[in-house]
């Protein structure tokens, strides 16, 4: 849905009075529901509903020969598909630049936090290692896919169990009890800027009129492990500070939700 200037001006006018269309506070997330194990064919899966935004993540394990430059490591790969099911703006065909950015931001958050020790995925050096693919597919886009996809990937990884291996081949019919040891829980929180206002978890209508955004992925230690600035307007260093603070605060709450549901 394209929003014209009048739509944006009205949104800003209301925002200046401290009000969002759905009456939420600036730092208020929508209702978050996480359901694990929703796709039985995956080794791990999770469905995330953030208000009306809905995504499904699935983890698949494969046994492959490791790359020559890292013979003692497995692979963790993240892919996001903006399925045309989810929005009139998403199309069939090669991924759009928005879909590529989305996948890379989620991927970076996981990768840079080193939440999985890739050496632990090695089965036999130079010969066999676990290749783990996390695929996230959109079902309904009502804004803030960046956070929803990041949370779905984490919940699916928490749900994942290694499949059984028979004579060096994966038997996808049976799962073992062994899960992935997650060293960190990197939580992405994207803060959106509208003139001098900052808010989080926008709906689609709010998202399309934003000036800029910053995705901050944080760890429980308070460290930041990934950043991505988006949007066409600049942000000041003062704003970056506020955005990081907001992300840290919200990340703490979201981490508790993820750990509780495990």
């Amino acid at each position: 849905m394209m929003v014209n200037d009048a739509g944006r001006n009205h949104f800003l006018k209301v925002l200046n009075e401290g009000v969002r269309y759905d009456k939420r506070k600036m730092d208020e997330y929508r209702d978050l529901k996480i359901t694990r194990g929703c796709a039985k064919t995956a080794e791990g899966s999770a469905e995330v509903k953030l208000g009306e935004t809905h995504v499904i993540a699935g983890v698949k394990f494969g046994l492959e020969s490791p790359f020559p430059d890292t013979p003692d490591e497995g692979i963790l790969m993240v892919n996001v598909e903006q399925s045309p099911v989810a929005s009139p703006e998403f199309e069939v065909g090669p991924p759009s630049i928005e879909a590529i950015e989305l996948a890379r931001v989620v991927d970076r958050g996981l990768r840079e936090s080193k939440l999985v020790d890739l050496k632990e995925l090695c089965v036999k050096e130079g010969e066999k290692a676990w290749f783990i693919s996390i695929d996230i597919v959109t079902v309904n886009d009502d804004g803030n896919l960046l956070d929803a996809c990041g949370l779905a990937a984490l919940a699916a990884l928490q749900d994942a169990k290694f499949p059984k291996v028979v004579d060096g081949e994966v038997d996808y019919h049976e799962k073992t009890k062994k899960g992935l040891e997650l060293k960190k829980i990197p939580i992405p929180v994207t803060v959106y800027k509208y003139e001098d206002h900052l808010l989080i978890d926008p709906t689609h209508d709010e998202e399309v009129v934003a000036d800029a955004r910053l995705t901050v992925t944080t760890l429980s230690s308070g460290e930041i492990c990934a950043l991505q600035k988006g949007g066409k307007s600049p942000i000041t260093t003062e704003e970056v500070e506020k955005m990081v603070e907001l992300s840290l605060k919200k990340g703490e709450e979201l981490r508790k939700v993820l750990e509780k549901g495990k």
Binding site: C38, A39, K40, T41, A42, E43, S45, E52, H54, I56, G58, V59, K60, G62, N79, E81, S83, P84, V85, A86, S87, P88, V92, P94, S133, D135, V137, V139, N140, D141, D142, Y172, H173, H204
Partner: protein, 243 residues
């Protein structure tokens, strides 16, 4: 050897447990979720909207275009690579043809109705679950239709005709297997999709198709209830305001 008992314990004519609901994707003009056992499908309808690419545009009537896609982790084995495969393209085409006979294309000349099907998990019968979901989503979107479409796979495992095969039955090793996905319109039971792989005699095929008609009524009931439920919910929401 005879196939005396189904691998999952069902009766030979018994369908797997079904779930159906509509309006599950708010951004779409119509949407549905349909689950048959371990196979789940989302369908979303967008349109009638402007036709892209333009050469498809027809001033006499509208266009229906279905698109079938498995989520990468929805297969029984390895990861399914995203993007259209030959299999997905063919299923998209036969799905479109399965639904076309009940759609009034003359109601939206020049425009296109897109139906996107996405499956989070599959355990055989994915094109059938996709068609059941797509028909529901079209009805939910208010696209003019003169009937409902249902779909199910019938088949033979060894000496028995079985309804709604699961993956383990399709892969049965101790005897011949045939897998026959069928779609029908509700009122006249016209066949709008028919495919088969495996081996089967003419007699067994005709018996199997007769059995499908009964199964279709059960699927239809589930679909109608899903559509009615949406309006029940809408009515319940309306009531307090009237007071």
């Amino acid at each position: 050897m005879s196939y005396d008992k189904r691998l999952d314990g069902r009766d030979f004519d018994e369908l797997r447990e079904m779930d159906a609901s509509v309006g599950v994707i708010p951004r779409a003009d119509g949407s549905a979720f349909f689950r048959m056992g371990g196979t789940s499908a989302y369908a979303a309808v967008y349109g009638p909207r402007q036709t892209h690419p333009r050469f498809l545009q027809d001033p006499a009537k509208g266009v229906l275009r279905c698109h079938y896609a498995m989520m990468p982790f929805s297969g029984a084995g390895d990861r399914v690579r995203p993007g259209p495969s030959r299999r997905a393209k063919e299923i998209s085409m036969v799905t479109t043809n399965a639904l076309l006979p009940v759609i009034d294309l003359h109601a939206f000349p020049n425009a296109i109705v897109d139906v996107f099907i996405s499956l989070p998990q599959t355990d055989a019968g994915s094109r059938c679950a996709g068609i059941c979901a797509a028909a529901l989503a079209l009805a939910d979107a208010g696209v003019p239709m003169n009937d409902m479409i249902g779909a199910v796979a019938v088949g033979r495992v060894d000496d028995k005709i079985v309804m709604d095969l699961c993956y383990d039955e399709e892969a049965y090793k101790d005897g011949p297997v045939a897998d026959i996905p069928v779609a029908m319109n509700h009122r006249t039971k016209g066949i709008t999709l028919l495919q088969m792989d495996g081996e089967i005699s003419k007699d067994m095929l005709m018996k199997a198709l007769e059995k499908v008609k009964k199964a279709m009524d059960k699927i239809h009931e589930k679909q109608v209830n899903a559509l009615k439920d949406k309006f029940k919910e809408a009515k319940a929401e309306e009531k307090p305001e009237k007071k």
